[in-house]
Amino acid sequence: MTVDLSVDFCGLRFENPFVLAAAPPTDGAEMVARGFEAGWAGAILKTTSVESEPVSLVYPMMIGMDLDGRRLAALENIDLISERHIDQVEKDVRALKREFPKKVVAASIMGAKKEHWEELVRRLEAAGVDLIECSFSCPHGMPERGMGSAVGQNPELTERTARWVKEAARRVPVVIKLTPQIADITAAAEAVKRSGADGVTAINTVKGLMGVDLDTFVPYPNVGGYSTYGGISGPAIKPVALRCVAEIARKVDLPISATGGVTTWRDAVEFLLLGARTVQVCTEVMRHGYRVVEDMVDGLSNYLEDKGFSGVGELIGKALPRVVEHSQLPREGRVRAHVDPERCIRCGVCYVACRDGGHQAIRFGADRLAQVDEEKCVGCGFCVTTCPVPDCLTLHSARAREGQAAS
């Protein structure tokens, strides 16, 4: 049995949902060609600008965050848009379309004023680009000059700028890349909808400050003794991205390309289930190379087969009905924690967690077996997050008999 991994996004056919995000891995035709050969369905060339736009980079521009020895739990960059201006990107588009006619070749653009946006659109269309993404969302460097997230954080500016681009585009769809640095991301998405643009990409990096060197007192990344805020990407931001995608999908009728913390096909499936149609990846590609798409495609395909789906389309938005407001959550059912004495390794981690982080509802006796006090347990679920043993601590409905999971 084969499954159909192709998706439709803004009228374009992608052979699979996996797209290279506008970022260092798409900074030039030679690189993107290798990505296409590895199996990526599309690529958004790194954000470009008109030739007169200065791009003044600083080094170093990247810093990672480790978590318990795992490298790159998050990545911060203070990179800017590409140093390759539109004249070079036009050539990239032509070369890539010639060599890879079935792949989706998109370009990301950023302009300081209306004429720049219009010129970028016109030249890219002439070069044969399939789709244009507009960065309204870069959180560092560009906002100081009225660009990037300075636009995305203001729905009026978003609507006006998106309309310039959409009106300039005669042939290709226009997608706006949104920033999470906004109180209500759906307001920005609605502004995009009103502008007539075709879709959104959510989300760009989350503005952050990665850390401070305890010896020199200089925050990271250290650029000649100084630092600044940057854009955070990688696994750490996935929950923020998932929330943004779900909020937009539930409220705004626009196709969504999701990005933010996708490391494996599992992450991608989550985004699809919450309404995304394609999934963009950057940090994981930078870390482990274009080849990561192989398992993304393979894993997604196997998942669809295992679940009996015929294609990716059946996944899109399937989890959305399960996302409601807090006030709408069911309140009648009660759950209680339950420890499987066969699995318990007698570590007492849940005991300490409930004692100091919960309701003192777990007993830990001389036999070292954790036991839940059904009267005291409110079913908060925190202990479950701390248990090191799979399926040992679980939540059950209060009246269910042992062994029956809460529905």
């Binding site: 318990d68 390794i345 007698r346 570590c347 090191p388």
Partner: protein
């Protein structure tokens, strides 16, 4: 003292932090119960994880002043790591490797800090004036038990002098544990730190000879005997006094005397020779590895039972095999023969054994197989049949002893005479370094009347305190 398997695991800091990050910080942590010295393992592992190296070393030192040596020689897979909850999920925390790193980095940071501050504050964690101030103790023997007892008493405000009979303090740490397992500078740094903190150490002085036992008893509020074991237990084998038949302790001690010019003594002359090691304990494995590393032509370990009954730890046995030693099981030497009546050993006459009903040790008793005698060629025979108690010290203090010559000791470390306490191999007949450390500490606490230590530590609620 039997030898301990090496903890040859060493981890660079980044993987160590990752390993520390797996720790569950168990409530009432089982690993602590697996440590004879009672090191608060979750507390120091937390500090490894946070990069608080000096704090980690301090937590270790609170329970074990020889924490660096023990990190290298402790059979951690038989002790703390055996109890680790994560063993049930696969891989335990590599506690020994983390302790080694914590000790190395922590003591290095302490030394750096001590350049600006008094050593007292940096290493001792603020030992203050004590209620016990004015009390005096003599410790006999500067091995693990004696050093541990001295440190504990010093930390409780006692004035302590350690008397060491040899020229070199450290006991088995400096004498017989091979340098490939425990570099001498590790031990030297630990002893240096103890002396720098104010413990007085006198070497080359034999208690009972140069210093009278009665004098020590008269001048001190407590005397802690940690003199270790005496001579090797004889095997009762004909020709045992021939040249070329030496004790494992003598052989290993000579191997530790290397000073950049190669091995000294018997170990220095072993290259190209045929070596027979008699015994099946960890000391026998150490002797076999040391001889093999010194380029012996052949190293044959003969043991009267089989690998299954052998007291050596599996890791030590594997180490001996890896070093190239061969094993002859169910074999008992009956005579060491030379080319002349008084001449050096040239052959070992052996008899094959068979295993019968269990003996007092619970292991099958070996019995000679009639008519099965054969001979092995040997240029050097190393006897590793264990050591007996140090009888001179027991006699000098007039202590009651059992049939095997061991002093009678109560569970708190008290001997049969007031003010006298016994710890370490002298008390237990030979166990691990960390056991000796624990007994030294225990004897010191008993001597101090069970009062709480004056060492002030930030008591993190991580381990066994966590109730």
């Amino acid at each position: 003292m039997s030898q301990q398997p090496t903890t040859d695991l060493s981890l660079p800091p980044q993987p160590a932090v990752a390993e520390a990050g797996r720790c569950l910080y168990c409530h009432d942590a089982p690993c602590v119960k697996g440590c004879p010295a009672g090191v608060n393992i979750p507390a120091f592992v937390r500090k490894v994880h946070s990069g608080n190296w000096r704090g980690a070393a301090r937590v270790i030192r609170e329970a074990n002043v020889l924490g660096g040596s023990c990190a290298r020689v402790c059979p951690t897979e038989e002790l703390c790591e055996k109890e680790c909850s994560l063993r049930l999920l696969g891989r335990p925390i590599p506690i020994g490797a983390l302790q080694r790193l914590a000790w190395e980095r922590g003591t290095a940071a302490e030394r750096a800090l001590a350049e600006r501050m008094a050593w007292e504050r940096a290493a001792g964690g603020g030992r203050g004036a004590s209620a016990a101030a004015g009390k005096r103790a003599a410790v006999v023997g500067a091995g693990p038990a004696g050093l541990s007892a001295a440190w504990e008493l010093h930390a409780r405000g006692w004035d302590v002098i350690v008397y060491e009979a040899s020229d070199r303090p450290g006991g088995q740490l400096s004498l017989t544990i091979p340098v490939h397992r425990l570099p001498r500078e590790v031990v030297a740094a630990e002893i240096e730190a103890i002396v720098a903190a104010g413990v007085r150490l006198v070497t080359g002085v034999r208690v009972g000879v140069e210093v009278a036992a009665d004098h020590l008893l008269a001048e001190n509020d407590a005397v802690i005997l940690a003199a270790g074991l005496g001579g090797s237990r004889p095997g009762g084998i004909a020709g045992e006094d021939r040249p070329g038949v030496i004790s494992a302790e003598e052989f290993l001690a000579s191997a530790r005397q290397e000073d950049g010019r190669g091995l000294a003594g018997a170990a220095g002359e072993v290259a190209g020779k045929k070596v027979v090691v008699v015994g099946g304990g960890n000391t026998a494995m150490d002797a076999a590895v040391t001889a093999a590393r010194a380029n012996a032509a052949r190293v044959m370990v003969v043991y009267r039972r089989t690998a299954r009954e052998m007291p050596a730890w599996p890791r030590e046995y594997r180490g001996a095999l890896a070093a190239g030693a061969e094993f002859l099981w169910l074999t008992q030497p009956v005579a060491f023969e030379g080319k002349s009546k008084e001449g050096p050993v040239a052959k070992v006459r052996c008899v094959r054994m068979s295993l019968g009903a269990p003996d007092a040790s619970g292991r099958p008793a070996p019995r000679p197989v009639p008519g099965s005698e054969f001979t092995l060629e040997a240029d050097l025979v190393i006897m590793a049949l264990g050591q007996g108690p140090n009888r001179e010290v027991i006699r000098a203090f007039g202590l009651d002893a059992d049939g095997a010559g061991r002093p009678m000791v109560d569970p708190a470390g008290r001997a049969s005479k007031a003010k006298v306490f016994v710890a370490g191999d002298l008390a237990n007949g030979g166990a691990t370094v960390v056991q000796a450390v624990a007994e030294g500490k225990r004897a010191a606490r008993t001597a101090d009347g069970g009062q709480a230590s004056q060492i002030t530590l930030p008591r993190g609620r991580w381990g066994s305190d966590d109730r």
